[in-house]
Symmetry: C2
Subunit: 263 residues, 2 copies
């Protein structure tokens, strides 16, 4: 009989987050390695106590991960991984749907009451969240959109979002280089960094980071993309006068430097 050869811990964790317990995972994996095992064999292969194997198998059948024979003793067989994982995901996705709907009810209530976060500075974690916020900012712009960011960030994450800015609103972009054709939709300001290096201007402070940038909309809402600190990128968002003013000045200053350098 096969040994209850041990299972990578990462796999157990993954299966747990798909809704299986440790035993369910072990039994399913054990069954994948055999064809039609009895409960006792399942116990031997998976290392799960024999008595626990019965309820576990019941649950796995319920979850559409194993099928049962009609012999006595019963024999069990695993559904192929693709199929099985899909069966699990179906349940989870349906949960996600209903959760989303129920949560929206709560969320809508808040929308009515005005937002009181005008003076606060928020930290946003995760690129997805940052991009969503940026899209919201650009989409609701009424007078101006100003972007000062490294090319990598523009290319990878920001440019598609800028499309959502309303047409009449001017979009200023300051960056250190541009690949591909220069779009007429935006007002581009390229910083000749290579050239600047040779002047005595403090170029290291111009665009000193990889993957960073500042974004200002309507002179009233600012977002600071801080790049990846500990794995996932984070950003600051604020509508406070202070931070907006800071960003306002920062962009102006850099643009002025750029002009000076070109001359």
């Amino acid at each position: 009989m096969k040994a209850p050869r041990d299972v990578p811990n990462a796999l157990l964790e993954s299966l747990k987050s798909l809704g299986l317990t440790k035993y369910e995972a072990l039994v399913y994996i054990g069954l994948l390695r055999t064809a039609g095992a009895t409960a006792t064999e399942v116990h031997e292969i998976s290392g799960v106590p024999r008595a626990s194997v019965y309820p576990v198998l019941d649950r796995l059948v319920q979850k559409e991960l194993v099928s049962v024979s009609h012999t006595t003793p019963k024999r069990f067989d695993a559904v192929p991984p693709d199929q099985g994982v899909e069966n699990l995901m179906r349940r989870i996705e349906s949960d996600a749907r209903s959760a989303r709907e129920a949560l929206d009810v709560f969320y809508r209530e808040k929308e009515l009451e005005g937002r009181g976060d005008r003076e606060l500075v928020w930290t946003i974690y995760g690129e997805e969240n940052i991009r969503t916020r940026l899209a919201g900012m650009f989409g609701s712009a009424e007078r101006s959109v100003e972007v000062l960011a490294t090319w990598d960030i523009l290319k990878g994450s920001v440019l598609p979002l800028l499309e959502s800015a309303p047409d009449p609103v001017p979009v200023d972009i300051v960056t250190e280089r541009w690949e591909g054709e220069q779009p007429s939709r935006f007002r581009l300001h390229i910083l000749p960094l290579a050239g600047l290096r040779e002047t005595r201007l403090p170029t290291e402070n111009l665009l000193p980071y990889e993957q960073s940038g500042v974004f200002l909309v309507d002179n009233s809402r600012a977002l600071l993309w801080m790049g990846a600190v500990d794995g996932q990128p984070s950003a600051l968002y604020s509508e406070s006068e202070g931070l907006v003013l800071f960003v306002r000045r920062h962009i102006t200053t850099v643009t002025e430097w750029a002009k000076a350098a070109v001359q």
Copy 2:
């Protein structure tokens, strides 16, 4: 201050299966209903003990469900439900991917060793699983495919699968009616049930069920679709001589009856 108004239990369960604990769910929901709450306010709104609120908020930030302000005291805000649920699903889907890959490794090992389930009868639960098995049967057919099933099951689940049968293999279908054009790819045998009713033949035993059918491939592999017993449909699958013979005779008999009735 808002009351910790209670939360539908189904929602808590859904969020749990997305990987949140009860507290995490309560705090997230509480935050959805406010704009920028301090830890203490979160405690008041969600009903979660104040001391527990801090670690819970940490975890929610980690999971990209809430953002933090930079004030003292810190203020917390929830990301919108759509976004939040999507962030959770991203983790789960990545787990699903890695689990599928890891499981496949185990599964492949078994593929090599010949299948020893020739004499067994398997119960398959869930329409998805049944259809997968049927697709496998049809796809690997070498000499014959025979189908005896009610029209509802054919139309809803089986016909698309039959396309996967190799071209030279003859496909016989026996059913009680046919909507749409009759495909030349299959040999159709329509049972004039309405007419049969008036004879003294035991028509009730011909196609007595809703949503049922039998499938036979190469005279060696049979599947009995048993319809929905307790919610989800189930089926028997077997390569055993006994069951195959039974199905063989069943199909033949019904076909003969049909001929007799037409005459």
